[in-house]
């Protein structure tokens, strides 16, 4: 049999298995909004650990990570630095949000913010901000899945078809089973990703260079510019320290503000499960090391992939691995894409309906769930439209989304920790922050020290929040009691 056909069969089997797990998991959850959005608050440690890891690491890390190591060298180290730093404060914030969620019945982070700062328009603003950031993120995942499938089937299954089939499956299990399916498929996919990344990341340097040390010695001799921090830009110029440092900061601030990650606080069975997930998170973070090794191993290799994002499938195909192994590695890469994509689709629907629509239209539980399912299909369709654009790069897509999503951090922190914060202060800060981020995104040449627009926006956002809050009257004591017991 031809290699690409065998690989396709393995991938098809993998996709079928994912679908089965997703649908079986859905039968265990209750038929309510709380069941669909928060899986009846029932995830134990094993599921939480892999859900979180698999959700954080997506096609961005699995394909974009090696792509960056390959084309921009040490610049990729920023991806290694931010995750665990951003996750650690969640040791305290997670249980706090969870306890407020149980007390007031919150299932999204906008509900938490607007529970403290009652305002319909604030809720709508957060819903819109989340959606604006979600679409490029979902686009990136679909494109990643399409890239992998097109590459390993040698073009027999083009990007548009591969993305459509893999995301068709994701949409089916998200539609029918909600958070429970996302949880169990991610556990399966998380294990798959970790094993695949370590196996390939260690195999390639040994196979091609006789070890990790010898590989880096050769790169250091032939391309020292690539191994010197802060690495290179996409076009091969030296990258700036300002951009490198602020990419780390904006990502650390923003990472837990993604609604699909923050909502994990509401899906955890108990606070100890949440805390343990945070404690163990650095172990997941180190999985980026083999991911980078895959990219670095391609540097001195003869031949070039059609774009840096293709380096992982390129290396798998070019090093003469047996078809079964190729198929399994591709399934690992698909896992990375789909395990984040499903959570994103699920969260975008929850956020838009819970935080946007229900404030303006009165819907019963049943109608809400039906509307959420419609939104899943709609968001998927919009993202798919953009995924077919050949000019989009995986990392660029996510980097722009972080500028927006990091603006949710000040409102969330203020809602939980600062008694003196007011609704007007929060609203003013958020509007000014988003405007600043948008301005520098559109005028990158005006950015001081080449800093990320999200960090520049936070520098305006936080002082505005504080100043306006102090100028407006403090919230009612009785209202505050519900948040600061």
């Amino acid at each position: 049999m031809e290699q690409w056909l065998l690989v396709s069969i393995i991938i098809a089997a993998y996709l079928l298995l994912t679908l089965t797990i997703g649908l079986l998991a859905g039968r265990r959850t209750s038929d309510s909004v709380s069941g669909y959005v928060a899986a009846d608050r029932s995830f134990g440690l094993l599921v939480m650990y892999f859900v979180t890891g698999a959700t954080v690491f997506s096609a961005f890390a699995f394909l974009g990570g090696p792509g960056w190591a390959y084309s921009r060298g040490a610049a990729a180290f920023y991806i290694l630095a931010y995750g665990a730093l951003g996750m650690a404060p969640f040791y305290w914030m997670g249980p706090r949000a969870a306890s407020l969620g149980r007390r007031h019945g919150y299932v999204t982070q906008a509900q938490l913010v607007t529970g403290r700062f009652p305002s319909k328009s604030l809720s709508l603003l957060i819903a819109v901000v989340s959606l604006v950031a979600f679409v490029p993120y979902i686009t990136l995942q679909m494109r990643g899945a399409g890239i992998v499938i097109e590459a390993v089937t040698e073009g027999h299954v083009p990007l548009w078809l591969g993305a459509a089939v893999s995301y068709g499956i994701v949409i089916v299990y998200v539609l029918f089973a909600g958070a429970m399916a996302v949880g169990w498929t991610n556990t399966f996919q998380g294990i798959f990703m970790v094993v695949t990344a370590w196996a390939l990341g260690l195999y390639l340097p040994f196979r091609l260079y006789g070890g990790i040390g010898p590989m880096f010695k050769r790169i250091a001799a032939e391309r020292p510019d690539l191994l010197t921090l802060p690495g290179l830009t996409g076009t091969g110029e030296p990258w700036s320290w300002g951009a490198y440092s602020t990419f780390i900061i904006v990502s650390a601030v923003g990472v837990m503000m993604w609604p699909h990650l923050f909502m994990k606080a509401f899906t955890a069975k108990d606070d100890d499960t949440l805390r343990r997930t945070v404690i163990l998170f650095p172990t997941f973070q180190l999985f980026l090391i083999p991911v980078f090794l895959i990219g670095f191993s391609g540097l001195l290799f003869a031949g070039q992939p059609q774009a840096p994002d293709f380096i992982l499938p390129f290396m798998i195909l070019e090093t003469g691995l047996p078809a079964v192994v190729v198929g399994l590695f591709c399934a690992g890469a698909l896992s990375a894409s789909m395990s984040t994509g499903d959570a994103l689709l699920h969260a975008s629907a929850s956020v838009l309906v819970q935080d946007g629509v229900t404030h303006y239209v009165d819907l019963d539980d049943r109608a809400q769930r039906r509307l959420m399912r419609a939104v899943v299909v709609l968001t998927g369709g919009v993202a798919y439209y953009f995924a077919l654009d050949p000019d989009s790069s995986l990392v660029q897509l996510l980097a722009s989304a972080y500028g927006v999503i990091s603006q949710l951090a000040p409102p969330v922190v203020a809602a939980m920790y600062w008694r003196r914060a007011t609704t007007r202060g929060t609203m003013a800060g958020l509007i000014v922050g988003i405007a600043t981020a948008a301005f520098f995104y559109l005028n990158p040449e005006l950015k001081p020290f080449d800093m990320h627009e999200g960090v520049l926006a936070l520098m305006v956002h936080v002082p505005t929040l504080i100043a306006v809050s102090l100028m407006t009257p403090q919230q009612d004591e009785n209202h505050l009691k519900g948040f600061f017991a």
Binding site: L80, A84, P224, I249, P282
Partner: protein, 83 residues
């Protein structure tokens, strides 16, 4: 160790980690040689800060857990609170 110290030290570790993986803290360590476990020095440097977070969070959790248990015992033994 009491709760305040544990929280303070964890916070301090997070601050130091942030400083030492970004400009200007990372500059003295932005070197290729010597290779550590085969990895470029700067990559190993960043990875160690991440790996170090594991024991820090683990110790913090031990202190936090003891404190939560103590508080629960106090609440349980307070007379007049029916639960």
């Amino acid at each position: 160790m009491n709760l305040k110290t544990a929280r303070g030290l964890t916070g301090a570790y997070l601050m130091l980690a942030t400083i030492f993986v970004t400009w200007p803290g990372v500059v003295p360590f932005a070197r290729i040689e010597p290779l550590v476990l085969g990895l470029p020095f700067s990559m190993a440097w960043i990875a160690s800060w991440i790996a170090g977070l594991l024991p820090v969070l683990f110790l913090l959790d031990r202190v936090e857990r003891r404190y939560r248990l103590e508080r629960q015992d106090q609440e349980d033994s307070t007379p007049g609170t029916d639960r």
